[in-house]
Amino acid sequence: MGKVTAQTRLANQLLLEAIKNPKNLPVLSLADWELLIRMGRRTRLLGRLEADLSRIGLLAEIPSRAADHLRAARNVIDHRNTLVKWEINRILWALNGTEAPIILLKGAAYVQANLPPAHGRIFADVDLLRPEERIEEIEEKLSLRGWLKMQIDPYDDRYYRVWMHEIPPLRHRERGTEIDIHHRILPRTSRLNSDPALLFEAARPLEDSRLHVLAPADMVLHALVHLFLECDPREGLRLRDLLDVHLLFQHYGQEQSFWDGLTPRAYKLGLERPLFYGLRFALRFFDTPIPQTVRSEIKNAGPRWPMLWLMDHLVALAILPGHPDYPYPWATLARHLLYLRAHWLKMPPLMLARHLLYKAYLRSRGVRGKVDLAKLDLRQQ
């Protein structure tokens, strides 16, 4: 276990260092590049490395075979960003004449507002936020213009409609991009009770005033909700999601007013705990420049000592990929625990138990199991 621990630590350091100081990448050895590419692939951060190197003009200074992998990631990202932007364009066309603006969330917001997280990562879907009572109207309009409700099983449909913060996804009959329409940023059942009305009031228009994005503090808080509550058991917390948060802190943090309003806003939305963790882990992994005042303001939002100690360890284990050749069993456990915690925060215990049982049943039936390599149509990937 000693060797595994040492290799895990070295590998994680290599990845974090590459993200924090891309200017040092040209001096990496080929062996380090090889490991970095593998870890970047696992965490889907190759595109981020490419974007950073390209921004500081060092792409030509790295080994060409490593550059090929970065270029490959970049090509996929460029393509997906094009699809996201175009889907937004078509949504506007389909919703022509609809009153009240469309609020873009997550990737769609970053891409359309050209915010730093948009460069260098894939966003597959378009996420929109609408007041709940106005969702039916746009669902209707979109379905008249060629979007279809995706076929999902009745359990999932009910799960969405009754409990969740979004409706089942829509997809255009010719294009593959999914649209998720949300009416709040947390499930109705969540222990974190956040009033969506506050978000609508504060949203900011983009250049095309039919489109809005969340106010800076709200956008960061939503990214944190996404990070901590929408993880999956295999990946655990996603480092790229925390990196989005770090990049937003950096971007909006250039204005002092952003920092001044952040903690009060988090309390108002009932999201002080996610903010506490977000600041803590962004600082720990990415050295995010966070003013001292903010750090002291948020101090009391954290959990008591044993829980904090536990979270510090679990998050580090779950969010960092480790060395691909030296799997670390504790990391797997941590990822599952954080997945359970996320669900715990999203729904009451009985419902959680039912939900997890149902998902486990599906897995045991092979519904979402592993794919068959030989039958796989490689072109569908």
Binding site: A72, N75, H79, P324, K370, L373, A374, R379
Partner: protein, 305 residues
Amino acid sequence: MRVGDLALRKFKSRLATEGLQVQFGPFVIRMRSDLASFASLAHQLYHHYPLASATAMTDFHVQITRPRWLRRWLRPQSLFTLDGQSPFAPYAVEHALPALEWGINWCIATRAHHLLMLHAAVVERDGQAIIFPAWPGHGKSTLCAALIHSGWRLLSDEFGLVHPEDGKLLPIPRLIPLKNESIDVIRRFRPGAIIGPSFFNTRKGTVAHVMPSEESIRRGHEPAEPRWLIFPRWAAEASLTLKPIPKSEAFLMVATNAFNYEVLDNTAFHLVTDMVQACDCYSFRYSNLDEAVTALNALTSSGHG
């Protein structure tokens, strides 16, 4: 140094420990396996492939091993993993080689987006290439196997790799998997062809692998110019026909069937239009391989197509 230059014992032990870095066209694959039966077979079929130098960067770290947990005791299995992660269901242990070959295809198809990847077999002579876009069941692999035993160099059987900077085709001479009756067709066509053992009852039926020539593998870094786009179709008893087809049709067949045409946006559009523009495009029906090879040789020697 080539795989075949290593003694089998050494090959096995390297495979079971730190792994072997094998060069497949532009990619370096580090493969590891603890399956003795797989090792012997791989040692034969990968005989001509170059081992990458110890300092070369590996593109994909793959393993074909016994699954660690319970099921290995019930029925011996082999599991393909990339970087320790397995997206796939395990295979019967005796199907380890086809599973590894498919797994490597999957790594390339889902990740090598710095290149345009057509789904096609490609053969070359005098620097000029024939591209045979794949259509399921139309027998491109059979035709390709026949041509590489008739004076053509194998560029690839599965991936038509197009270099975006100059539109040239990059070689990736892998084993050619023949299915079902094609295996005997090629054995009869060239009794000297080296074909691996038949794997029965795989999820694609019976599969056996044709070894590319030593020369094809040695020249695995020499690109070729696209010159002919030929859409082959084998049909029993069909008389041989070779008909020019409209370029627009050729474009659509190539683009819709490529692995990553969509991903490469504008670049892919221009690469494929340039390729179709530069190529003579034909549909080709045949039943007899000797006639087919003769017809293609005649077409490609006539200078103007």
